[in-house]
């Protein structure tokens, strides 16, 4: 596991290029900085200054090498590399609130922007007019869209929103693609059609499951048949396409999780305000979600004997003579983790993933090392 501290301010969002040698991140202001890996050091090679407000989302298309950024100034820009410099193209989103998240579709011919205007803008390039056009998905979204994720078929889009629901929409644009075939989520997919909405299922004698907090992050599995989302009421929920009504959630004992991703078809890694990633295992046959373990190996502090002076100090500060080790932060990140991205292996056989957080640092995690370092950890 490696940790590199980029800044003192939080990293608002980040994106990697195709061969993982460059990372674009926003240092909590109006700019995007691109760093290039040079041995063990990271050098800043580009500064992208065009936004007038904080940049809230960055996504880097691996094949076409374009970066899309969206910001609190209600704009999105598509950046292309020309003669060694990144040139922006404005995309008119027609929103009147800040944009919150942006994602390229798997085939990179369109991207989706979630915003505070309670709608999703799907933007595609129109050849005749040589500019980016956008279409809106409005119903039945009632609040800010916090997170987006595309299905591998390039048409379905999962959106997590502040109205406590996670939904799957169809973002089929007939100008840029052919009709998609049927999927586990449905077969009729006109633009804007909602194929799934969470929060509708109520178990027999329990309170509303999987609903009750803002949906911070959503993620499709590699096959697209499973959808995981984390919510502000400290729950993680998984839904499977085709099995309507069954949403399996786990109320975790940790603070809310802010980001989530699949690392295999059955294993989920999520991270959030507790500053360390955690593993969840989903059993498709039983339909159950279980807590797999904490993925942070704290450095074991040598247990020295406590001197009399330390005893009195502890008594003075904490009213107890023992050292309160559980209060200290033993994790790699020293502040909440806000974004997680898969580096190698894709979402079905992930071998490395990266987390960035509010401490301005980036953690690189190796799945094999974690598996061997922690006993009882099984990544199925």
């Amino acid at each position: 596991m490696a940790y590199h501290s980029f800044l003192l301010e939080p990293i608002s969002c980040h994106a990697w290029n195709k061969d993982r040698t460059q990372i674009a991140l926003c240092p909590n202001d109006h700019e995007v900085h691109i760093y290039k890996k040079d041995g063990t050091k990271w050098n800043k090679i580009h500064e992208l200054k065009e936004h007038n407000g904080q940049v809230t989302g960055i996504d880097w298309a691996p094949d076409s090498n374009r970066i899309v950024t969206c910001g609190a100034d209600r704009n999105a820009y598509v950046w292309t590399l020309k003669e060694g410099a990144w040139k922006p193209t404005l995309v008119i989103l027609r929103i009147n609130r800040a944009a919150r998240c942006v994602k390229w579709s798997p085939r990179e011919n369109k991207f989706a922007v979630g915003s505070g205007s309670r709608l999703i803008s799907i933007c595609y390039f129109e050849q005749e007019n040589d500019w980016w056009v956008c279409k809106h998905i409005k119903k039945p979204i009632r609040s800010t869209i916090l997170s987006l994720d595309w299905h591998p078929n390039n048409v379905l889009l999962a959106a997590g929103s502040c109205d406590f629901k996670c939904r799957v929409f169809s973002a089929y644009i007939k100008e840029v693609e052919e009709k998609p075939g049927p999927t586990a989520w449905g077969s009729k997919m006109p633009f804007g059609e909602m194929l799934f909405e969470s929060g509708g299922s109520v178990a027999a004698d329990q309170t509303l499951v999987g609903g009750g907090g803002w949906v911070h992050s959503v993620c499709f599995s590699h096959s697209g048949n499973r959808l995981v989302w984390t919510s502000h009421d400290s729950t993680v929920s998984v839904a499977e396409g085709g099995k309507t009504g069954t949403v399996n959630s786990l109320s975790s004992e940790t603070l809310p999780l802010l980001c989530v991703t699949f690392i295999t078809e059955n294993s989920i890694v999520a991270a959030g305000h507790d500053c360390y990633p955690v593993l969840f295992v989903y059993d498709g046959a039983k339909g159950s979600l279980t807590f797999g373990g904490k993925l942070d190996v704290p450095k074991q502090a040598a247990q020295k004997g406590i001197s009399a002076r330390e005893r009195f100090q502890n008594l003075d500060r904490r009213a107890s003579e023992t050292q309160g080790t559980e209060k200290d932060l033993n994790s790699l990140h020293k502040n909440s983790i806000s974004q997680i991205s898969v580096l190698e292996g894709g979402r079905n056989q992930c071998t490395k993933f990266c987390t960035t957080g509010m401490d301005g640092g980036m953690g690189l995690w190796d799945v094999k090392t974690l598996e061997s370092a922690m006993k009882n950890l099984k990544i199925v």
């Binding site: 329990q206 907090g213 502000h232 940790t254």
Partner: protein
């Protein structure tokens, strides 16, 4: 004079018995049951009150206030040693509901209630973790 030939049974009904404020009295009669089962029973009944009774039918806030007072009384009457067992017998949803009532009880402290509630809070936190407190804060259906 004409005689009233309709049924006069309704005159024998004591309407005050069915006053909704008095409804709580029936539950107080259940205090003779043993500790953990009684807690589960009361929590279950509260849960039923919440989920099965449509909220617009709960005529007034006093309905919930009665429930809160009752729960605080039940929690205070437990022996310190039994608290852990009682918390252990609850499932996840039960622990979340218990946390909600504990925090409700904190809002309106009375004589000794805070000390007892703190003991309950400690035990419930050990089982439910910080997540259960987050669920109290983010819950849409308040107790």
């Amino acid at each position: 004079m004409a005689k009233n030939t309709d049924s006069a049974r309704f005159r024998k009904v004591d309407v005050d018995e069915y006053d909704e404020n008095k409804f709580v009295d029936e539950e107080e009669g259940g205090e003779n049951q043993s500790g953990p089962t009684r807690l589960k029973w009361t929590l279950c009944s509260d849960n039923i009150l919440q989920t099965r009774t449509p909220r617009y039918l709960c005529l007034s806030r006093c309905f919930f206030e009665r429930a809160e007072l009752l729960v605080v009384r039940v929690l205070s009457s437990f022996k310190s040693g039994d608290i852990e067992k009682a918390v252990g017998s609850l499932d996840k949803a039960g622990v979340d509901l218990l946390m909600k009532y504990i925090y409700r009880g904190f809002e309106k402290p009375s004589d000794n209630s805070s000390a007892v509630l703190l003991q309950w809070h400690e035990k419930a936190l050990a089982v439910g973790g910080v997540g259960s407190i987050v669920r109290v804060l983010t819950a849409r259906k308040t107790v």
